[in-house]
């Protein structure tokens, strides 16, 4: 059965290793921080200027001057630091972030990603996404395997404006875990009860399938 958002978030949390500095996009990526194992100590970076982001504040101690990249009130954990945006993006651009997780509209089997603009529809802007995908060491996309119209989001070529080229390393969807290899997409895991055939059918690019594909362990 296809995973819900929580399921995707749980699977992503498994990619977080002890000692990682991590930047999480809004939505499911941020949700993943709730499922990090207790013995895994990571530091969350939020690009508006904080290392060591904690959870939401209580009603007694929220602060308009302390927000995350989604402009939500947050807290700072012990060991945190505050800094300006130039320094914050120096961390990103300089490759100091170990893992970036963000959402996407489309990802290609070369690792190109489209995530910021739907022409003729809404204009929002790229925010910090183009900086993040251009420079983080390890980029994981969290998204549904198909869009609302049922069209594949894992594709040969993006139809939407690009956020970055040849940068995505892995995709976690409601159906599968797919790695972007030099030879293209490789199916690594499938959601519990989801068949390899269904995944192939809903992917609009060749999928390397090497032996038995295990179910995700979430």
């Amino acid at each position: 059965m296809a995973l819900d958002k929580t399921g995707i978030a749980k699977r992503i949390a498994q990619e977080m290793k002890d000692g990682y500095y991590i930047n999480l996009g809004i939505g499911v990526p941020t949700m993943a921080s709730n499922f990090i194992p207790e013995d895994v100590n990571v530091v969350i970076h939020t690009e508006n200027g904080l290392l060591g982001m904690g959870g939401y504040p209580s009603r007694d101690n929220y602060d308009a001057d302390l927000v995350n990249a989604g402009k939500q009130t947050v807290t700072a954990l012990p060991g945190a630091s505050f800094f300006d945006s130039a320094t914050s993006f120096a961390m990103i651009r300089g490759g100091h972030i170990d893992l970036t997780v963000l959402g996407a509209f489309e990802v290609t089997d070369k690792g190109d990603i489209a995530s910021w603009k739907i022409p003729g529809s809404r204009v929002k802007g790229m925010g910090g996404a183009m900086d993040l995908v251009a420079a983080a060491k390890n980029i994981i996309v969290a998204m549904t395997h198909t869009n609302r119209k049922g069209e594949a989001k894992l594709v040969k070529n993006c139809t939407l404006p690009l956020t970055g080229v040849q940068c995505v390393k892995m995709i976690v969807t409601d159906l599968a875990v797919v790695k972007v290899t030099e030879k293209g997409f490789q199916l690594i895991e499938r959601a519990p009860g989801v068949s390899v055939e269904e995944i192939i059918e809903k992917t609009a690019a060749p999928l390397i399938i090497d032996g038995e594909i295990p179910e995700m362990n979430i």
């Binding site: 939401y56 009603r59 308009a64 939500q72 404006p161 080229v165």
Partner: protein
């Protein structure tokens, strides 16, 4: 060396139509509220505004759009402002979208006398169209030019009469790089103290980057998304 002005009106009295103005803040966090209010009152128009976002419909940079004072907006994100999107589609102003980290670095470069530099961000995307690209060590980069700004409006937590600034938490964001970049940087602070009261180790923006400073009162400090634990 005293940079204290008595009012924001005094600070902005020389701003002309067509000026390029930087406005610090990330969304509404660290927003120079008093500076924006004074710009609204002044009616100065045809501005080029450089800011991280367009604020929201009825606060922050959004107010200047509503008041038809902006000719061109350079920003990374206008997603929290529906009105800005409508006015854009109506052709009321020009929008140049720039990646957020590139905005910060172009501001710092402007302040640091670096006319151009290379970044990986936006390579291969429409945001790099018309820009020079170049390979270094096997990776492709885009050449970005430093910003120039007639004025920078920034907001800090504490400041002193020499213009030294300290920001609270994540309210620093674009404020420090933009403070470096403004030909005239106007800083508003919640608490203004005489020079010598701030620990020189704690200064985030040294006073050399600030030309005018004043203490604002009654800050609204509007929160875009109040999220609370267990609520």
């Amino acid at each position: 060396m005293n940079k204290v002005v008595n009012s924001i009106e005094e600070a902005i009295k020389d701003i002309k139509d067509g000026a390029t103005i930087m406005i610090g803040a990330f969304g509404l966090c660290g927003l120079p509220e008093k500076g924006i209010a004074a710009l609204l009152k002044s009616g100065v128009k045809d501005l080029t505004v450089i800011s991280c976002t367009a604020g929201v419909d009825d606060f922050g940079v959004g107010l200047l759009l509503q008041n038809h004072q902006i000719k061109k907006l350079i920003a990374s994100y206008i997603g929290e402002n529906d009105d800005a999107e409508k006015r854009l589609f109506a052709g009321e102003y020009e929008l140049e979208l720039v990646p957020q980290g590139t905005i910060a670095e172009r501001a710092r470069a402007g302040g640091a006398g670096i006319p151009a530099f290379y970044v990986p961000a936006s390579y291969g995307t429409e945001a790099a169209e018309g820009k020079e690209v170049r390979e270094f060590d096997g990776k492709m980069y885009v050449m970005e030019r430093a910003f120039k700004a007639d004025y920078a409006f920034v907001k800090a937590w504490k400041g002193d009469s020499y213009g030294n600034l300290i920001y609270k938490a994540t309210a620093n964001n674009l404020n420090n790089p933009m403070a470096m970049c403004g030909k005239i940087t106007i800083a508003e602070v919640e608490e203004l103290v005489p020079a010598g009261e701030l620990d020189p180790h704690h200064i985030h923006t040294p006073g050399i980057f600030v030309q005018q400073i004043f203490q604002g009162t009654d800050y609204e400090k509007r929160i875009e998304f109040l999220r609370l634990q267990n609520e």
